[in-house]
Each structure stands twice: as structure tokens, then as C-alpha cells.
């Protein structure tokens, strides 16, 4: 039966993440965005909420509850706090979830237990590529089989936290089949070059890197899913749902701030929210936030039902990408001149929201 009420457990999680966002993230977002990123202790605390261990299979000591819907609910709240912090907290999942879903027994036994520890393993994943015509279904990075080894070549971009990462999951096009492969690549691999930190319009409190792969040779057993490979489409669907949920969180942050501001700010002898020109912008923002969230929920629900969520996830992301931009733009507009000043958070939300049409593979639920 159709219903829009989270389970009590989900509601508890929402409340926990909301508190974390309000108490730990929000007070330091401005300075973190201006330089230096978030302190490791804050990101660790986000890790300790326990999103990833919940998803690790029971046989390995996790709870075996990998729900895209629950993930999406948490993602929205994290991004409501701050998008950079949200992506930092969610980065270990970029590695853990695909392995949980598609790893061979051996890969799961070796790679997953570290995710049950107090501190998050330093891992990441590399999907996006530089260049203006990125297409997740036509990766330029290649994987070529050479006997018992695989040779990886190409360039990756927007790889979160790659600077510290011990391991990363690299997505590449299989030169033989044309399909997508993913390989576990260790930090010290020959030919793997982590270039300097990227300088982006937004996400300034998150360290992202360009990564070059020049004839990086990995062993065949490090291919995700072994000979069977994995379902790349599902990984993309889960990523699209995650990113769309994050977009909703950013949009909601901006909407709520602008709404509260408009009720305080006086002009012509009354709060500006009493003018339809402002009130309508806010009403439309509220509608867009809700609509985008419902689309995210539907796609996430389909994933959890084991249905093909490709269409719903694609449309949800397309919708949320746009909604986040228009809503955060309204946020700046409602604040007028103050909206343009970096001391106020709305311009940061606009910078962060602008990225969603570019972001692919930066988060997963």
C-alpha cells in the first residue's frame, strides 16, 4: 500500500543525522569551505553513525540491511548539513557497497571487514573523467587483458579523498567486451598517479583529485565480481539516487534558510515574506523540494524492491539536479545583496547545487 511515512528505525536515523548535521557540521561549514575542509574528527563522527556497517552482509558481521531508501533519507539530511561533509562521510560506501553487492566471496571476505571498524578505511572510487563530454556509458579509461594481468589506462577526475586513499575502485571500459569493469587498485600501484587537489567552484571543503592511470597493471582477482563482473547499471542507478537525494538536501537547506530570513527581513514596513513576489518564490521552492524528494524515494523504493530502477533513477536525478539549482538560486535572490556575501550560506549552496548536473558516481546508496 502506498505510504510516505518512514519506519520508526528510519525516523530515528533521520533524527540522528539531523542532529549531527546541526551540531557538528553546520557550525563549521563556512570556515571549512573557505579552506582546509572539515576536521577529521567531524567526518569520523559521521562515520560512527554507522550507515556502512549496517549495509555489510550479516555473514561478515554487518547487519545486512542495504536499503537505498534508508540511504537516501540519510543522504538528504547529511547534505542539508553540508554537501562536502556529506560526500566525505559517504565516500567509504563508494567502495564498500559495490563490493557488498557484487564482490566474489573472496573479495568480500578480504575487503569488507575493515568497514566494521571504529574508523573508516581510507578508500574511494574513480568514475568521472575529465573532458566536457563525459559519458558514464562510454568510459575513456580502458582495461585490457594481458594474460593474468589487466592493464589500466586513462584519466579520472573528481575522485574524492584520493590523496589519502589506500585503495580505490577504478571503473574502466573493458577493451574486449566494451562493457564496464571495476578494479581494485592499491595506493602504490606502478603507473597510478594521484595529481594535485582539484580546484572547484563548489565542494571546496572536500578534497577531490585527478588520477592518472598509465599502464597500471593489476591482477585479475582484483576485478570486481571476478569473471562474472558486476551490474554497472545498478551501480549507476544507486549512484543517481544518492546524488539526487543529496541535491534535495542542498535545496532544502537553501529553501529553509531563505524562508526564515524572509520572515525576519523588513522592507517597506513589513517582512518581505508578506509580499507575494517573495512568498511565491518560496512556495515554488517548497514544491520543487518535495517533488524531487518524492522522485528520489520512488526510485530508491524500486531499487529496494529489486525492480529495474534505471528510468526512475535517471529521471529523479535529472529532476533533482534542476530543482536544486533553481531552488538555491531563489535562495540567493531572496537574500538580495546579502545572498551574494560569503558570510551567508546561500551562495555556497548555489555553488554546490550547480555541480549536480556534472556529478556522477560521487556517492552511492
Amino acid at each position: 500500500m502506498v505510504s510516505f511515512t518512514p519506519t520508526p528505525e528510519q525516523q530515528q536515523l533521520i533524527d540522528t543525522v539531523r542532529r549531527y548535521a546541526a551540531n557538528d557540521i553546520r557550525p563549521i561549514t563556512h570556515e571549512s569551505d573557505e579552506g582546509g575542509g572539515f576536521p577529521a574528527s567531524v567526518i569520523d563522527k559521521g562515520w560512527q553513525i554507522g550507515l556502512v556497517p549496517t549495509a555489510i552482509p550479516e555473514a561478515l558481521g554487518g547487519l545486512g540491511e542495504m536499503s537505498a531508501l534508508t540511504g537516501a533519507l540519510a543522504a538528504e539530511e547529511l547534505a542539508f548539513g553540508d554537501l562536502s561533509a556529506a560526500l566525505a562521510v559517504m565516500t567509504p560506501a563508494l567502495f564498500a557497497y559495490p563490493v557488498s553487492l557484487y564482490g566474489t566471496e573472496e573479495q568480500r571476505e578480504v575487503w569488507l571487514p575493515p568497514f566494521l571498524e571504529e574508523k573508516a578505511p581510507k578508500v574511494t572510487a574513480a568514475l568521472l573523467e575529465p573532458g566536457i563530454f563525459f559519458d558514464a556509458h562510454d568510459l575513456k579509461t580502458t582495461a585490457t587483458l594481458e594474460g593474468a594481468k589487466v592493464r589500466l589506462n586513462g584519466a579520472k577526475a573528481y575522485v574524492p579523498l584520493a590523496g589519502d586513499a589506500d585503495m580505490m575502485l577504478v571503473y574502466a571500459k573493458n577493451s574486449e567486451t566494451g562493457g564496464a569493469d571495476a578494479y581494485l587498485v592499491g595506493r602504490g600501484a606502478d603507473g597510478l598517479e594521484i595529481e594535485g587537489e582539484e580546484k572547484l567552484m563548489g565542494l571546496r571543503a572536500l578534497s577531490t583529485y585527478r588520477v592518472k592511470l598509465n599502464d597500471v597493471r593489476v591482477d585479475l582477482p582484483s576485478r570486481l565480481g571476478g569473471a562474472a563482473g558486476f551490474d554497472y547499471q545498478v551501480v549507476l542507478n544507486r549512484s543517481r539516487v544518492a546524488l539526487a537525494a543529496l541535491a534535495v538536501g542542498v535545496a532544502r537547506a537553501s529553501f529553509e534558510y531563505a524562508r526564515d530570513y524572509a520572515k525576519e527581513r523588513q522592507a517597506f514596513g513589513a517582512p518581505i515574506a508578506t509580499k507575494q513576489a517573495i512568498a511565491f518564490m518560496l512556495a515554488e521552492a517548497a514544491i520543487e523540494v518535495d517533488a524531487a524528494r518524492l522522485m528520489v524515494w520512488e526510485a530508491a523504493w524500486q531499487l529496494d524492491q529489486g525492480q529495474d530502477a534505471s528510468k526512475a533513477a535517471y529521471l529523479a536525478k535529472q529532476y533533482a539536479d534542476k530543482a536544486a539549482l533553481t531552488v538555491t538560486d531563489s535562495g540567493v535572490q531572496v537574500l538580495g545583496g546579502y545572498g551574494f556575501i560569503r558570510e551567508y550560506p546561500v551562495e555556497r549552496w548555489l555553488r554546490n547545487a550547480r555541480g549536480f548536473t556534472t556529478f556522477e558516481g560521487l556517492a552511492i546508496v
Binding site: S3, H137, A279, Y319
Partner: protein
């Protein structure tokens, strides 16, 4: 409770049946009924009446059952409004003008169901649940000088103590199904009138005016841009006398808190998402048709391509599809809240503002994308565009619904945010 999008099978079956009715009885007559304004959609009405009669009988039987005391079983979530939503969507996919001629109480019936006493409900709604010949209900609120601003309503209701009757005087316009209700069946119209002009909105009340009441006359049916199969009537009330207990809500004027008016306005929370549902049906028809015709021209819509690999047409279609889905989900949420008997004033206004706007845009885009054939009356796309527009106007314009959303999210009264 858990978040779910699972439509129960029996509800889906009913929606599928509605789609069949739409295919057999509505689509084939669609063009003809549009070209011959006000021609009654007899084939549809005859075939759908037994179904509607049965459905309405069930609703009425439930109303007639005495309230059971003692242990109460945990109430399952009703599917009444969900069924209605999907049925309306499908029927409007068939033909939105013809859908409005669906026999039954319509908006008038909804008002009675929402605010009538048990006695009133049984007395007035029975006609929609029995008989060989169907009847219709309608709602008359708008006046030449009172559209969105309902407080400007001039129609008066004066109580004649001696005769124990209300005496109504005034003129109503834009009454959907007014002619079907008053002239072409043994129906009824819920008429909004003031019992105390000095009290403003607090003095406004809905009254049930039955067909055959002396002094009530349909003076005109409008010729319209779209939904031409549906009559939009002007009604004159000239010393129209109705029984004392045909008033819906309290006859006392409470100047504080809005009194009966506020309660009666709550019917809109129930009816707005149903208008959204009708809009969704037109949007779905337009989108499906465009995709079908594009496929014939080998233009396929894929759900995997990055922006730079999409053609302009593919972008348009994807945008139409995403917007329609957004409107659908907002409507679904407003409807489910109704079925859960929870307040949905905000959600209902959101669904209506969104659906009215995007379906108007979708249907207009469909005409554009189909080129010379989209504009041609040979196909139905141009008709759907004309039919769609009303959904952003009646049951509260897009602007009024946006205003309601704004007031709710800001916590403002209508005085604080006019």
C-alpha cells in the same frame, strides 16, 4: 508504516478497467464531442452509469450503517481516494471533457460528503446510487464579480421563519455540470451564498438546491476553449425557496475563527487532488502519444544518456516525463493523506499548483513537437492542449494554490499574506 509506492492489485485492476472504458467509450467519440459542443456523451454515460451507481451505492451503504460501538479493529488504510485518483486519471486520459460528465455527485456530492450531516448525506446522495437514469451534482460558487476572491460573493440566503425555508437570490456562473444537474437530470447544485453580508467570509454557507426548485434557472451554457463536452452553466436564483435543513454546516454566524466557511473550504482539500488527477490523465495522453509518434519516426527516448548526447526533442520529452512524474507523485501524496484521514491542505494545494502548470506545459509542448500534425484537428494533441488549460484555472487557479502553499509554509494567515 513504511515508505512504499505499491499500488494494491485491486486498485490497479479498477484503474485498468477505467482505461478500457476510456479506450472503448471515450476516445472514439472524443473528436466528435469536441466539434459538437454540449452534445451529451450518451455512449459513455450509458455504459459507465451502472458502474458508478454500484460504487456510489457502496459508499452510501457505509454511510447508512449505524456506528459500531465496542472493540474497534485497527483501521486499514482506505483506498477510496486512491481508487478515485487512478480512475479519474485514466478516464481523463480518455477524454477530460467527457470525464466531467461522469454521472454522480461530482463536486456538489463531494461537498455534501465532506460537511453534510449523516441525514443530509443519505437524503441528498441517494439519487447518485440508484435508478435507471443517472443524475448529476454540481457546485456553484463563482459569480460575475467573485472568482478567486470568494468573499465578494453577492448571492444571499435569507431565512424565512414562517415558511421554514431559505430564500436564495443571486447569479452564479462557471458552474460545471450545472445544466446536467438542473435541466437534464434529477440532480442538485451546491450553491454558495451569504447568510450575513456584513460578516464577510464567516457568513458564507453552501446550500443544496435540487433540480425542479422554482426560481432556479439555467440561463446560459458557455462556449469554451476546451472540455467542450462538459457544460459550464450560468444559474439565476430568483427567490428560490429551499427547505431549512438544506444548509450545509451551521446556520449561526461565528465571526471568530471563520466558522462554517472554513470547514466548507476544507472540501477543496479533497477535490483539488482529484482535479490534479484529471490533469495528469491529459498529460499522460499527450506524452504517450508524442512518444508513440516519435517512435514511428525512429526517435527513441533513452534513460541513460548524458545531456550532450540527447537531441533537443529527447530533452523535451524527458523533461515532460520528469515533470509529469513529479506532479503525479505530489498528487499521490495528497490523495494518500486523504485516505489516511490526515490533514492535506498544503499537499493538496501543492499538487494542484504543480499539476495544473506542468500539464498545461506538457500538452502545449506536445503540439509543438508534433509539428504540422500537432496543430491539426486530425489528431487529438491540440484538443488535449485546450482541455489541459482549465486545470490551472478551476478549483483554485495556479496562483491561488501557490498562495495557499506560501501561507502554509510561512505560517501566515490570509490577512498576513493577501
Amino acid at each position: 508504516m513504511t515508505i512504499s509506492f505499491e499500488i494494491p492489485e485491486h486498485v490497479q485492476q479498477q484503474a485498468d478497467m477505467a482505461k478500457m472504458a476510456a479506450e472503448f467509450f471515450m476516445r472514439p467519440a472524443s473528436r466528435e464531442l469536441d466539434e459538437n459542443e454540449h452534445q451529451r456523451p450518451d455512449i459513455f454515460v450509458q455504459n459507465i452509469w451502472p458502474v458508478m451507481r454500484e460504487m456510489q451505492k457502496k459508499t452510501l451503504d457505509k454511510l447508512a450503517m449505524p456506528p459500531t460501538d465496542g472493540e474497534k479493529k485497527p483501521e486499514r488504510q482506505s483506498t477510496q481516494n486512491l481508487r478515485l485518483m487512478l480512475m479519474i486519471e485514466m478516464l481523463s486520459w480518455g477524454d477530460a471533457g467527457v470525464y466531467l460528465c461522469l454521472p454522480g455527485g461530482s463536486l456538489g456530492g463531494a461537498a455534501i460528503e465532506a460537511v453534510g450531516t449523516p441525514e443530509q448525506k443519505l437524503r441528498f446522495l441517494r439519487r447518485f446510487a440508484e435508478g435507471e437514469i443517472p443524475s448529476w451534482g454540481a457546485m456553484a460558487m463563482t459569480e460575475p464579480g467573485a472568482g478567486s476572491d470568494t468573499s465578494a460573493i453577492q448571492t444571499t440566503a435569507v431565512f424565512d421563519k414562517e415558511a421554514n425555508q431559505w430564500v436564495l437570490n443571486g447569479e452564479k456562473i462557471f458552474c460545471t455540470n450545472g445544466k446536467l444537474a438542473l435541466d437534464e437530470s434529477d440532480g442538485l447544485v451546491v450553491v454558495w451564498a451569504s447568510i450575513d453580508r456584513s460578516a464577510g467570509r464567516a457568513g458564507m454557507r453552501p446550500f443544496v438546491v435540487e433540480a425542479g426548485t422554482p426560481g432556479v434557472k439555467v440561463t446560459k451554457t458557455e462556449i469554451k476553449h476546451g472540455i467542450r463536452a462538459s457544460d459550464t452553466a450560468s444559474i439565476v436564483l430568483d427567490n428560490a425557496r429551499i427547505p431549512a435543513d438544506n444548509i450545509l454546516g451551521s446556520p449561526e454566524v461565528q465571526r471568530e475563527g471563520g466558522g462554517g466557511f472554513k470547514g466548507a473550504m476544507a472540501t477543496f482539500d479533497a477535490t483539488r487532488p482529484l482535479v490534479s488527477a484529471s490533469a495528469l490523465g491529459i498529460g499522460r495522453a499527450s506524452l504517450e502519444f508524442v512518444k508513440e509518434k516519435l517512435a514511428e519516426e525512429s526517435v527513441e527516448i533513452l534513460y541513460n544518456l548524458p545531456y550532450h548526447k540527447l537531441s533537443a526533442i529527447q530533452r523535451d520529452v524527458l523533461e515532460m516525463e520528469a515533470q509529469l512524474k513529479a506532479a503525479y507523485l505530489l498528487t499521490l501524496r495528497a490523495i494518500i493523506l486523504l485516505d489516511q484521514r490526515q490533514p492535506n491542505n498544503l499537499e493538496s494545494a501543492m499538487s494542484k499548483a504543480k499539476a495544473g502548470k506542468v500539464v498545461t506545459q506538457i500538452s502545449q509542448k506536445a503540439v509543438e513537437l508534433l509539428g504540422p500534425m500537432g496543430y491539426s484537428r486530425e489528431w487529438l494533441a491540440e484538443k488535449w492542449m485546450r482541455d489541459a488549460k482549465i486545470n490551472d484555472i478551476f478549483e483554485g487557479t495556479g496562483q491561488i494554490n501557490t498562495l495557499i502553499v506560501a501561507r502554509r509554509i510561512l505560517g501566515y494567515s490570509s490577512k498576513e499574506l493577501g
